[in-house]
Every structure is written in structure tokens, then in C-alpha cells.
């Protein structure tokens, strides 16, 4: 029988810059889910914060739409040939910059490649970068932040100072400096950079959230019963402290996708012949006057993707934060 969740993880800390912290920036708190007698479901079982949230999410049109968009994106990044039969690297210079034609609805880009095919194939890199960077950041950040919050003391202070240091460095600038030496053509340097500069954001949130969860009575009770630190952390604190991390990580996923495109636009992110929206937008920007379609399609795809992830994060936050309901 799982204990009723009583999560009071306050998302605290003012996030610097980076469009990463919707939840943090709004200084909202994830409050207690109704536990006890009020929180019992139809079957009489106590509803946890999660099943409560899930019930809410299923009825939220914003969640359904954004989840469907994301599902679609994931499917086409796994199997792009499902909806685009062409080859994104097969180009015909004679057709450069031509507009929409039958069979080629988005027209051709500056190299005469089919913009539709490239836009479809571009999803893969964006989704890969976003998902991997978020997983890395969330894992590293919550482990470090959680341990620091739980044990406190010297390592906690040290971690807080390190976090401050990372917050003081502008993200795009760090990307330019670090990635300008990379010649590799894969997504890994970009992901590595995002994890390197992104983890302090999550660690700050995880730390605050663990500190709040740590003070709960059931943690004291578990300790009195002789539970080990690792058991307390994994069984009692982690499930109650993870909600803010999930919210921020979901929103951050969208912003990492945007960041990848920005870095690629500046010429230090992914590099051709990789097919990516950022690269295509960057390549199209000098011709924006004559052939705006080359820029608008990949830019539109990018915007819709980022929007879907941010809205998903927003919906999840609303569901996990009953205090906001009016």
C-alpha cells in the first residue's frame, strides 16, 4: 500500500536567463495533494498525487493536443520515411530557391533540396538533442542536488557556490566558446554542453524540494524505525520530491531544442551535412528576402515543437499543483 503523497516541494530559487525556467520564474509552489479521506478515489483507495494529476491531465485539452503533437514528432523522428519518401540529401541545384510545386509542397532550398523532406528529417536531431540533454540534465541535477539537500553541510555549500558560478555564465556565450573547437559531426558535443551548463538549474530545484520533503513526519518516522539513508532517500523522499523536477525538465526540453537551433544558427551547434532545423534556418536566413519559404517551414516546425513541449510542461505543472486551481 503506497503512502499518500504529501509533496510540498517548493520550487525555489530565481532562475537566471535561459528561457528554461517557466516554473521557477513564476515562483510557484507544488502544494500538498489532498490526502486522507478527501483524496480517496472511487474504489476507496487513497489517490496519490500522481493518479490525481493523471486524472486532471486526461481531461485537459492542452495536454492532449501537445501530447499528440509530441507523439507525432517522435514517430516521424524514428521513421521519417513514413511521411516523406524523398532523400533529404538529394538536391538539384537547378531548382534552388524554387517555390512550392506539385509533389514538393514546401518548395526547394538554396541548394535545391526539397524543403519538405528536410523539415521532416530535421525532427530527428531536434528530438534527440532535446530528450538526451533533458535526461542527462535531470539525472545529474537531481542526483547532485538531492544528495546535497539531503546531507547538507560542506558539500551542500560547495554545490550551491558551484551552481552560482554556472548561473553567472551566459548560456549562448558558453556554447560559442566551448563548441567552437568541436569538429565532430554528431549530436553528442551539443548534448554534452547542455548537460554541463544545464544541470545547476535542476540541482537547485531538486535541492530545495528534497530539503522540504526531508522535514516531513514520515521521514522522521522512517528514520526512527531504523531505515537506512539510501532507503529513506529512494523510498520516501525521492517520490515526494520529484514533481518539481519533472515539471521543470519538461519545459526545459523545449528550450533545449530551441537552444540547439540557436547554436546551429550561430554555426557552432550541429554542422552540415547533418539535417537539422537550426542549420536550415541559418542557411536560409541570407535569402529571406527572395525565398522566405526556405526559412518559414523549418522555423515553423521548430516553433511548434518547442511550443508542444512547453505546453506539456505547463499542463503537467497545473496538474501537479492543486494550489493553482481556482
Amino acid at each position: 500500500m503506497p503512502e499518500p503523497f504529501e509533496s510540498e516541494g517548493a520550487i525555489s530559487g530565481a532562475g537566471m536567463g535561459g528561457a528554461m525556467d517557466l516554473a521557477v520564474a513564476e515562483g510557484q509552489t507544488l502544494e500538498t495533494a489532498p490526502g486522507g479521506p478527501d483524496g480517496t478515489g472511487p474504489a476507496g483507495r487513497p489517490r496519490s498525487l500522481w493518479s490525481d494529476a493523471w486524472r486532471d491531465l486526461r481531461r485537459n485539452p492542452v495536454f492532449i493536443i501537445s501530447a499528440l503533437v509530441i507523439l507525432f514528432l517522435v514517430v516521424i523522428s524514428l521513421w521519417p520515411s513514413l511521411i516523406a519518401s524523398g532523400n533529404p540529401l538529394k538536391c538539384d541545384l537547378a531548382k534552388a530557391q524554387e517555390g512550392s510545386q506539385p509533389g514538393h509542397p514546401f518548395g526547394y532550398d538554396g541548394q535545391g533540396c526539397d524543403v519538405y523532406t528536410r523539415t521532416v528529417y530535421g525532427a530527428r536531431k531536434s528530438v534527440t538533442v532535446g530528450v538526451c540533454a533533458t535526461l542527462g540534465v535531470a539525472l545529474l541535477g537531481s542526483v547532485l542536488g538531492g544528495l546535497a539537500g539531503f546531507f547538507g553541510g560542506f558539500w551542500d555549500s560547495l554545490l550551491s557556490r558551484i551552481t552560482d558560478i554556472f548561473f553567472a555564465i551566459p548560456v549562448v556565450l558558453g556554447g560559442l566558446v566551448l563548441l567552437s573547437v568541436v569538429t565532430s559531426n554528431t549530436v553528442w558535443p551539443v548534448i554534452g554542453f547542455m548537460v554541463l551548463l544545464g544541470w545547476p538549474q535542476i540541482s537547485r530545484i531538486a535541492r530545495g524540494s528534497v530539503i522540504t520533503a526531508k522535514q516531513n513526519d514520515y521521514v522522521q518516522a522512517a528514520r526512527a524505525l531504523g531505515a537506512s539513508n539510501s532507503r529513506i532517500l529512494l523510498r520516501h523522499i525521492a517520490p515526494n520530491a520529484i514533481a518539481p523536477v519533472i515539471v521543470v525538465a519538461t519545459i526545459a526540453l523545449g528550450t533545449y531544442i530551441a537552444l540547439e537551433a540557436t547554436l546551429s544558427y550561430l554555426g557552432v551547434g550541429l554542422k552540415p551535412p547533418t539535417v537539422s532545423w537550426g542549420i536550415d534556418i541559418s542557411a536560409a536566413s541570407p535569402y529571406i528576402r527572395n525565398a522566405p519559404h526556405m526559412l518559414l517551414w523549418p522555423a515553423g516546425a521548430l516553433a511548434v515543437t518547442v511550443l508542444a513541449f512547453i505546453m506539456l510542461g505547463d499542463a503537467v505543472r497545473d496538474a501537479l499543483d492543486p494550489k493553482l486551481r481556482s
Partner: protein, 307 residues
């Protein structure tokens, strides 16, 4: 108050050292600065060694860092490899970026807070929903796309502005770039103000103020707004540093010769002195802005007293 400021200033020291050291190491990883100096050709080994000695690059990194920091505190940011003093570059670049940042902050304050107050007071109404949706769209479209689109529409298609900014970069020319730079933060400020207003509207002091029979305007401006602005000011304060550092993209789109432009050039040409110098100043700006924000807290919220 005085003791608090001193303590904060002391706390800034390790962060400053850490951040500049990190950048110093990153720039060192960036590659051989001498190679950039010789242009496309391979450097003659003797020349390279001589240049390395001249710039002190033959010493270990930590020693280079100490020498550099020692110089910085006497106001010497070193010389860019083209012979120009870095301070000289700064004196032309920083005023431009500061103007750009001021324009951006004004947009954030005026538009962001106004929209936030309106939506916060009309929570759940159509105005609220549409503004909220608009902020999500603005947040989702990366700045460089917003910038390119505005440049295309306002600059090229409709001819309202010049597509690129002149070297003078006076305030008038920076309005649209400033809006682009502010766009994402503007959306955050709106959402943040909205949440804060909506939360505080239900608070006791607002009910008391209304019960006293104060005019609605006074309740909103003097009571509700003053208390709701605290998180907003924190955000805007921390945003100053982020805006100045994030101006790289905006400055590149509109061809503004500010900090971002110099940094971009410095990175492309592997000009370590320029990069480290500019970043050092940016980090300082960020730290000082954060300190000022914390001090402003006490002014806005009388409950906070710094011992």
C-alpha cells in the same frame, strides 16, 4: 544593511573567481590562439614561440590566470591580437549593448508588467487566455527566428525600419532589436506578474484595503502591485546579465556592433584576451545586478530587514 552588503560582496568573490576561471579554462580549450594570429598559414615555429613568450602563453594556465586577474584589477584587460587595447574595444562596444539592454528592459517593464496586471486581474477571461497563449508562442519561437521575421517584415517588406543598425546605434534604431532581445523575457515577465497578481489578489491586505473603501485604482497600484512586483523585480534584475550576454544573437541579426558582436569576432578569431575580458565584465555585471536586486527587496518589502 551595511554588514549585509559587505557579506554579499565577500560571497561574490568566490563566484567571480570561479566563473572567470571557468571561462579562462574554456577559452584555453578553444585552441591555440597563436594559430589564429598567423591566419590561414601554418605558423613558423620560431615566431610562434616568440609570440607565445610575448603574450605569456608559455606559462602554465593557472599562472596565466593569476597574471591576467592581477592586470584586470589595475584596469588592464590586455591587448587584442590586432594590437587594439581590449578596454578600447569595450569602450565602443559596451555603450551600444547597454543602450540595447535599456531598451529591452523598458519593454519588459512597460509591456510585460502592464499585460501581467491586466491578465492577473481578469484571470480566466478571454483577454487572459489570449495573452497567455501569445506568451507561450513568443517563448516557443527562438529569438533568432523572431528577429529574422521582424527584420523581414518591418525592415524589408514594409520599410518601417532600417534592416541593419548603423555603427552609432542610437536609441531610435535600437527599438526593434530591443524588442526582439526582450521578447522571451517579456513573456516571462507577463506570466510572472500575472501569477503574482492573481495570488495576491486573494490576500487579506487587499481585502482590508477594499473594505476601507479605497478607490480600486489605489488598491491596485499601492497595495496589490507593490507587493506583487517583488518576484518580477528579481527576474528583471537577474535578466540584465542574461540580456547582455544573450545579445549575441540579436546583435548578429541586426548587425549591431556591441558586446555580442565583439565576442563573436573574438571567438571566431580565437582572440582569447577579448573573450575573457568581455566575459569577465559580463559576469561582474550579473553579480552586481543580483546584489542590487536583493537590496531593492528591502525597499519593496518592509518585512525584509537585512541585519
Amino acid at each position: 544593511m551595511g554588514r549585509y552588503v559587505v557579506r554579499r560582496l565577500l560571497q561574490m568573490i568566490p563566484v567571480f573567481i570561479g566563473a572567470t576561471l571557468l571561462i579562462f579554462l574554456m577559452v584555453n580549450v578553444m585552441g591555440d590562439p597563436i594559430a589564429g594570429l598567423c591566419g590561414e598559414r601554418q605558423c613558423d615555429p620560431a615566431t610562434a614561440a616568440q609570440l607565445k613568450k610575448e603574450f605569456g602563453l608559455d606559462k602554465p594556465v593557472w599562472q596565466q590566470y593569476l597574471t591576467y586577474m592581477g592586470n584586470v584589477f589595475t584596469g588592464d584587460f590586455g591587448t587584442a591580437f590586432n594590437g587594439q587595447k581590449v578596454t578600447e574595444l569595450m569602450s565602443t562596444a559596451f555603450p551600444v549593448t547597454i543602450r540595447l539592454t535599456i531598451v529591452a528592459i523598458i519593454f519588459e517593464i512597460v509591456i510585460g508588467i502592464t499585460l501581467g496586471v491586466i491578465t492577473g486581474l481578469k484571470r480566466g477571461r478571454p483577454v487572459d487566455t489570449s495573452v497567455l497563449l501569445l506568451t507561450l508562442v513568443v517563448i516557443s519561437v527562438p529569438t533568432f527566428v523572431t528577429g529574422l521575421l521582424l527584420q523581414l517584415l518591418l525592415g524589408v517588406e514594409w520599410g518601417w525600419i532600417k534592416p541593419s543598425v548603423s555603427p552609432d546605434a542610437n536609441f531610435g534604431e535600437l527599438i526593434v532589436p530591443g524588442l526582439v532581445l526582450a521578447s522571451v523575457s517579456l513573456a516571462y515577465v507577463t506570466r510572472l506578474t500575472r501569477t503574482s497578481i492573481a495570488e495576491n489578489r486573494r490576500s487579506d491586505y487587499v481585502r482590508t484595503a477594499i473594505a476601507k473603501g479605497l478607490p480600486r485604482r489605489r488598491v491596485i497600484v499601492r497595495h496589490l502591485l507593490r507587493n506583487s512586483l517583488i518576484p518580477v523585480i528579481t527576474f528583471i534584475g537577474t535578466d540584465i546579465g542574461a540580456l547582455m550576454g544573450g545579445a549575441i544573437v540579436t546583435e548578429r541579426i541586426f548587425n549591431i556592433h556591441g558586446v555580442g558582436f565583439q565576442l563573436y569576432q573574438g571567438i571566431l578569431r580565437q582572440n582569447t584576451q577579448t573573450v575573457v575580458g568581455f566575459v569577465t565584465v559580463l559576469v561582474l555585471v550579473f553579480l552586481v545586478a543580483n546584489l542590487l536586486v536583493d537590496l531593492l527587496y528591502a525597499v519593496l518589502d518592509p518585512r525584509i530587514r537585512y541585519a
